[in-house]
Symmetry: D2
Subunit: 355 residues, 4 copies
């Protein structure tokens, strides 16, 4: 799924709100933690208390003695995690809708120094174990890179969710063939909130080796967490972070907001709200004549088919959102999306359709 108008024109205020969940600001709890962390001196490079506590909190949350690293953004998180799992002559299996394939400007190939991404067929953005198996077994000669990792996005770039069994099915195939399983969790919070499962259930208990746990889209200013459920996989990862330009000196400003988010279920409350807003939008769109849902709304994204002219009119009204080659538009909800904004959008959509 390649984006036709990826850079939304900047617009003041609330009209930007459906372009991406990263146009939202910092959620109040994270901001409060950030301000609170700014007291006196602290050891740099993660040797501070806030960082240690945030790591512990993540281990608690996942009920696992995981190795945790905080890095600056999702491009880096996914790319260096993948690079740690495969050599340059090995390959990563992904959906061709995967963000690592479509929107990272070659970052995975760059950080791995050449690992190829191999597309496997997907259903609504989700890989299948049969499709993964086909790619794994397709070739065995040295002229073709050996698959070494499968990467899943949860929730997917198409707004859908992997069920626990779907993940473990893919993981089983991967393990049987010596592959590791990586999860791009840019919107992991939305998935957990929607599925109502324990984080462990859709990660390590389902065979995931490494999770890139997205913080930015969840409401943080900056930063993602890389969680190695098998500590040996993360053994020298601190060096990799450093060399890759992903070791923050004033780490507390990355980690303290994480700690706040993961305390008292703040993260799930915000993610749940984003999901609820998407469902509200989805239900109302379904009722509009001329609009058509392209995909089921399972997390915080709503994919709608509207006539080209209607999309143009909607943009002219000031709304920003991504559109796709071949038609369709994506509307993302976040912790900051309000019911009023959703309702306003729906009304304007209706107007744009000449309703």
């Amino acid at each position: 799924m390649s984006t036709a108008s990826p850079t939304p024109n900047e617009q003041p205020g609330h009209f930007l709100q459906f372009a991406s969940d990263n146009t939202s600001g910092i959620c109040p709890e994270a901001m409060q933690a950030l301000v609170a962390a700014d007291v006196g001196f602290a050891a740099s490079y993660g040797n501070d208390h806030a960082t240690q506590q945030a790591c512990d909190r993540i281990r608690e949350l996942f009920e696992a003695d995981a190795e945790v690293f905080f890095v600056f953004n999702g491009t880096a998180a996914n790319s260096i995690a993948l690079a740690s799992l495969c050599q340059s002559y090995q390959a990563v299996i992904c959906s061709d809708t995967a963000h690592v394939e479509t929107d990272e400007c070659g970052a995975p190939e760059f950080f791995s120094n050449g690992s190829k991404l191999l597309s496997a067929p997907h259903r609504q953005g989700k890989l299948t174990s049969a499709g993964v198996l086909e790619v794994i077994t397709r070739r065995t000669d040295v002229h073709y890179p050996r698959p070494k990792v499968v990467t899943l996005t949860q929730s997917t770039e198409m707004g859908t969710l992997y069920q626990k069994g779907e993940i473990s099915g893919i993981s089983r195939v991967a393990q049987e063939h010596g592959l590791k399983v990586h999860m791009d969790g840019a919107r992991f919070a939305n998935a957990v909130a929607a599925l109502g499962v324990a984080p462990a259930d859709i990660t390590w208990r389902a065979g995931v080796d490494v999770l890139c746990f997205g913080g930015t889209k969840m409401g943080l200013p900056i930063g993602e967490a890389i969680v190695f459920f098998d500590r040996r996989l993360g053994e020298e990862f601190a060096y990799r972070c450093k060399q890759a330009g992903q070791l923050a000196s004033k780490m507390r400003y990355l980690s303290a907001p994480w700690l706040a988010m993961l305390t008292d279920g703040v993260w799930l409350r915000h993610a749940g709200h984003a999901n609820a807003m998407a469902h509200r939008l989805s239900e109302k769109v379904a009722a509009i004549a001329g609009a058509e849902l392209l995909l089921p709304t399972e997390a915080n994204g709503v994919f709608v088919n509207l006539p080209e002219a209607a999309l143009t009119r909607l943009k002219a009204m000031g709304w920003t959102f991504y559109t796709f080659i071949g038609g369709g538009a994506r509307f993302m909800c976040s912790w900051a999306t309000t019911e009023a904004a959703v309702d306003h959008l729906v009304r304007d959509m209706d107007r744009a359709l000449g309703g």
Copy 2:
């Protein structure tokens, strides 16, 4: 200069204050700007107003139509700036005390995919034009990487300052041989404050092509600015940032604090304070029997020779600072260093010496 005890034990509160300028927090003006930026939605990836304004402000400051990029940290800033200036089979000339050589875990080689760093002789951390010339002209065969960039650190890792004429002397040699000049300005603010010059005078007017302007050590939470004085050198640099995992989605939280720092001379006031604290420390240390200044104090770092036993005692008292193989200790001052802390340190140093 390689560090013997690079990771200070974490200590609560003020005692950490001399380990590095990055153990300090966010200065008040930056924090205020960060909080103020958190209003509603904003276009992501730098397409927001705060980022545009911060870029404009930097152009104003340098009196130049420069191309500006905000990235997450200094490792990345220097490494990708260098990578943009040289191909993998070319080389970067640096002092062997340069941070890119001693403390980046191979990041410049990683991002450039193999560009070698070639050491040139230095005086108190500063390259000389004669030394640079010698390295440039040493070899011309294909078995040796062709020098393509000279990198200077201002202020240097040894706390010294390049004078305007020293920079232009090196730049002249570089230009005559087709090399570009890069400045690692992790502590550029301290240099400008100390030298009392216009930023342009010690950068592009002295032949510098690219400056990595340090924000973190100056008082920001996160983030450095890469300033290409020749816009053509930065032409496709946005792609490089993206691929290198250095494009922040919520860019406003990097850029808004920059804007605040560069308004009404905030950055120079803080840097000047840090320098003043270093001079206060330096003068008092010079008066202590048994302590010896290893290097002139020109910016915000004080390098002191103390007997091993005294260093050990000082650490036992709770002070943290870096020590060096072969002897000596480094004490860094920042915007947050107080006169009281300096005086306290001096008293304890005297005690540690048995005074």
Copy 3:
């Protein structure tokens, strides 16, 4: 087109002859030149007379003041040529049947440190200018690598040929959008022999910037020539060869056979013979009931559809050839393929079909 049985079982003698043109030996003229070059001492790394003469001969042949480099194999030739044309955050447009995409184990991504290969639609292995244009203009945001090179294979991996006008049509689109044109000429000799054109006509006069001119499949023991028609593109390429492990110390043994091949039309005589053998095979196959030509035979490869059982029987008889997922087999002819071998194969094919 991915190969299902890429590694032929080794068989003694003539039965291997249709697996690939690289199972053939050294042609007599090349061998004679190799032996003749072995006289006394010679300057290393290409500073010898044979190498200079071979470069001159290539310039003559292409009627161009080209920059020429001899490297060890096609993987390297294509990969480092592409790497010299694009930065890591840029992309290469190719057919998804291209050898660089399907059979180089990620070498182009490795040598370029991450340049993505973007597939454009093809007709019988050939890119079209419309398809290339679509990929170039698909995206313009920094999240997607900017296309910088188009690579064509001549003759193609499907045994077809680009006509002069097809190449110049693609080149025009490329040039208009700032892309360079690279030609993978692993079987360039077969193309020139088949088309009966001047080498210049289907390279630089048709807009090709760089040609990887295949030597091995043509009858050399080892080695390909990289020909930069625009000398500026090859300016520092000698350093790249060295760093990439592609600078032969005893270069004369690579270059002297080249000189012999390009003298008195030896290369075209051999390539023409290979093409003739393919046509002979093709015509006879067309006459066999149950066998079907999958693609037109334009150069030295014959693509045949045979029932699975027949293919198995043919292999059991000792013949080796590549088969493809989804059916079909490829039979490659070379300078060493004899009429008798072709006829023998055809008889066995007929037998395998139960004829």
Copy 4:
């Protein structure tokens, strides 16, 4: 040791003979094997009989079940072997006279995607276990790449030899700290011939994990063997060779000459001759007034100090050799060096000195 005049002017015939052992041709036995290998078709990419036999022969020679790969040149052999032993954020310890440091244009850094080479002190080109230990234990923080490999050159770039005990001493230090040991054996034959030991004694029995066994300088046209004594280290190395452009399609032309060289002690006879010529030269030089041996002659290189004027005169007479910054010249002998040439050189040296 950096070379001041690395590219000898090309001269016809015998005068080139002391520049490097790679200005020699192919030795008769290797040439004969090359010609003999050119019979009919053979499976490509190393799946041929000659390659299998050559691998077996190397295993026999080293009395070890080693994994063997043939690649094109020494730059590649050393670089990809090192890359297979360390990640990009790890480091390689070498002497600063090591060829990988001084004459590979950054190839090790390129193939490893950024592994730093760390210099350890040397005595006449040889690392010491104390020096290696110092570098290993110097730093333990993430800002400095973790040493993971030690590389030794045998015989060294200064013409000296590691004794068995010296190697095992270094290996012990390496093993105790989790490092692997790599041997650059560009002139391994000269070392074995000079020391009169079993190849196993100065490799795996002394703790060497991987040997790059030089073929070119020994008398082959092209090609080096990479020998992994621990098969697990070479497990996926075939993919690495492929991706790195080091998999020859017509492999038999690399491997068959190896087989010939390692049969009936051909390699040692030739290497022994080269060493003997060096000793002859060395003894005669020692007797010349005004000439001074800079280093002991232990293998096939002679390092001589001559006044600048004498060196200039010697070059004017047509002799080619490498000279060094700071004075001195290197004369290399090979299988092809004759007693007459040595004696002629000595006479001219004497004349050049005004003798």
